[in-house]
């Protein structure tokens, strides 16, 4: 039972973090707060992968020549780390585009509050 807990509790914290991120994205009205939630959400998934790469008693995946023959149990799984390097870059790129959109929106409407933004848009629709 305790073994099972130790083998899984990290994932549960990751999912709680994920829920916090989703909360920021869905409930908050300010667009920048939504972006903060989005970043938390993405980081939680990165943590999920990195947590899964762990092996007890293993070291970083850089070959140690002094160890002689290669023992896969002595190095943590390198694949999730590689995938997450890519995912981090994707996250940065998305954040950059999102900030560009936020700046464009602020320049046009002078507000970042979603409810007021929708009001402005409805007004524009009526005037057309």
């Amino acid at each position: 039972m305790l073994d099972f807990f130790i083998g899984h509790y990290a994932y549960w914290f990751v999912f709680i973090l994920m829920a916090i991120g989703l909360y920021g994205m869905t409930v908050k009205c300010n667009l920048v707060k939504k972006l903060i939630g989005m970043t938390i959400f993405q980081v939680s998934i990165i943590l999920f992968f990195v947590a899964s790469a762990n092996k007890w008693g293993a070291t970083v995946p850089v070959l140690d020549h002094s160890a002689g023959s290669i023992d896969p149990t002595k190095y943590i799984n390198p694949l999730p780390h590689t995938l997450m390097l890519t995912a981090i870059v994707v996250g940065v790129a998305t954040l950059g585009v999102a900030l560009a959109l936020v700046i464009t929106i602020y320049n046009r409407y002078q507000t970042l509050d979603e409810t007021r933004l929708l009001e402005h848009m409805r007004k524009d629709d009526d005037s057309e």
Binding site: Q42, T86, R108
Partner: protein
């Protein structure tokens, strides 16, 4: 050399164009369009070659860097992926030809980055379709979605808000998909689709794998706007520049549909889905609801692009219904409808673009029969597209509905059959509303019939793609038996 590398060449040529455009066309902007057009034409040619090769040689695997699959990344060229790449590349080539004038009119000073971003979107789509690796699919999904956010955001005043909402939704979708990949990787230890297809049947009722399937389908569903997750779609299509909506609407959602077909039927397999999660039933019900919901809302719209956007929701419902039926007729209908809807939507959006260029608007109540007199060819193309959407026999639209109807009858789902029939009526209502304005409505007031010389047929670069699509709708309808027996029957996945 070209032949041995042909599976990878379509996305790579598009990517090369996207890299070269910012370097070459930074100061000489007029170069951007020819480069983009050449790359798109080359990709279309390569897709034709690939389809012919697949039909004669069988499935082709392409290993990047020479590494064998679970170690490296592979591209898989089977009849389904070859067919869908050809549809995507050919339709976008036609739309790109059409887009030149409307980009010059709507985005005069941003044409260089715009064409580069269009090339990146097509790279992403080709990559998603061809890849045989789950993580590679995620990377290309993100390339195409980032490009889509950008293409939507350069429209009118409201477009950045629409793009931002799509960005938030799309990121949730992409992250769900990535989480699903994580679950799959941790339970099976592999990222290669063919490898997982072998391992998954040994893991029925493994909650992590079931969750992975659910997360992947929901994630892709958000990206492709399956019915309850379609919230971002109408605004995005309406506020985007007309070149963007004509490029995104026909092919964007189809790529998501393709990915869902691939994940459900080729990776996890029908048996896994039947044993673990009532996913196909859910998809079928959502599809049926989407068909009716989208059609009803389309009737209520005044703006033509928004009407077409809601009609897209309905049409994606047809495809979802076909997938959800999970029998051979359903799959044939769904894949055929992928092609049909790409052609029909492209045709109709091009017509909307022509109206926008010549009339300055595409609002339905303001159309009148002057349009038919001055723009006869555009009106003819619209008529063919509308008839095809309704499903009148000689056009392609009839045949996919026919196969879907056969599928519902085979499964004995009469309610879904009813949804199909009702939606055909609703389609007729909202398209005949436009046709009635164009053909019947007399001029308002005493405006002299030939006083307005500005109103004329669209220029050749816009008219020809529209007409080609209109003729293709008729021809492919007449020869659809060839496509179905030659290509699509070979797509029906194993286990059905």
């Amino acid at each position: 050399m070209i032949l041995s590398n042909s599976p990878a060449l379509a996305p790579l040529s598009l990517l090369l164009a996207a890299i070269v455009i910012p370097m070459v066309a930074f100061r000489r902007r007029w170069l951007a369009f020819p480069i983009a057009l050449c790359a798109s034409a080359f990709a279309t040619g390569i897709s034709v070659v690939n389809l012919v090769r697949v039909l004669s040689e069988g499935v082709i695997h392409y290993h990047f860097g020479g590494w064998i699959p679970p170690i490296g990344i592979e591209y898989v060229l089977d009849p389904l992926s070859a067919f869908v790449t050809l549809v995507v590349n050919a339709v976008s080539l036609l739309v790109l030809v059409h887009a030149h004038r409307s980009v010059a009119a709507e985005l005069p000073d941003r044409s260089m980055p715009y064409y580069a971003v269009v090339m990146l979107m097509l790279t992403g789509f080709n990559g998603i379709i061809l890849t045989g690796d789950f993580f590679n699919l995620y990377v290309f999904l993100e390339i195409s979605s980032l490009a889509l956010y950008g293409m939507i955001a350069v429209g009118n005043k409201k477009s950045p808000v629409a793009a931002f909402r799509y960005l938030i939704m799309g990121t949730v979708g992409g992250s769900f998909y990535l989480l699903g990949v994580g679950f799959v990787y941790m339970t099976t230890g592999s990222l290669n689709m063919a490898d997982i297809a072998k391992i998954a049947p040994t893991l029925y009722h493994q909650p992590a794998l079931v969750a992975a399937l659910g997360l992947m389908v929901v994630g892709l569903g958000i990206k492709m706007a399956i019915f309850p997750l379609h919230g971002w779609l109408p605004d995005a299509y309406t506020y985007a520049p007309s070149a963007s909506s004509a490029l995104i609407a026909p092919v964007g959602a189809k790529v998501g549909v393709y990915a869902i077909i691939r994940v459900i039927f080729y990776v996890f397999g029908v048996d896994f889905v039947r044993h673990s999660l009532p996913l196909t039933d859910i998809l079928a019900w959502l599809g049926a609801i989407a068909i009716v919901y989208g059609s009803v809302l389309a009737i209520a719209q005044k703006e033509m692009k928004r009407m077409l956007a809601y009609s897209s929701v309905a049409q994606i419902g047809y495809i979802g219904l076909g997938i959800g039926l999970a029998n051979p007729y359903g799959i044939i209908g769904a894949v055929l409808h992928v092609m049909n809807h790409a052609l029909m939507k492209a045709c109709l959006f091009l017509v909307a673009g022509n109206f926008r260029l010549k009339l300055g608007h595409s609002t339905i109540p303001r159309l009148d029969h002057r349009v038919r007199k001055r723009m006869p060819w555009t009106t003819a193309a619209f008529t063919v597209g509308a008839l095809s959407m309704v499903g009148v026999p000689p056009t392609v639209g009839f045949f996919s509905k026919w196969y879907l109807a056969l599928g519902t009858i085979q499964n004995g789902r009469w309610l879904f059959l009813a949804a199909l029939l009702v939606s055909s009526l609703l389609n007729a209502v909202y398209f005949f509303r436009v046709l009635e304005k164009v053909y019947m409505k007399p001029l308002e007031g005493d405006v002299p019939d030939d006083g307005d010389t500005a109103l004329a047929e669209a220029p050749g670069s816009m008219l020809i793609p529209t007409l080609v699509l209109g003729i293709a709708l008729l021809l492919l309808g007449l020869f659809n038996a060839v496509i179905v027996t030659g290509i699509i029957t070979r797509i029906v996945p194993p286990g059905m």
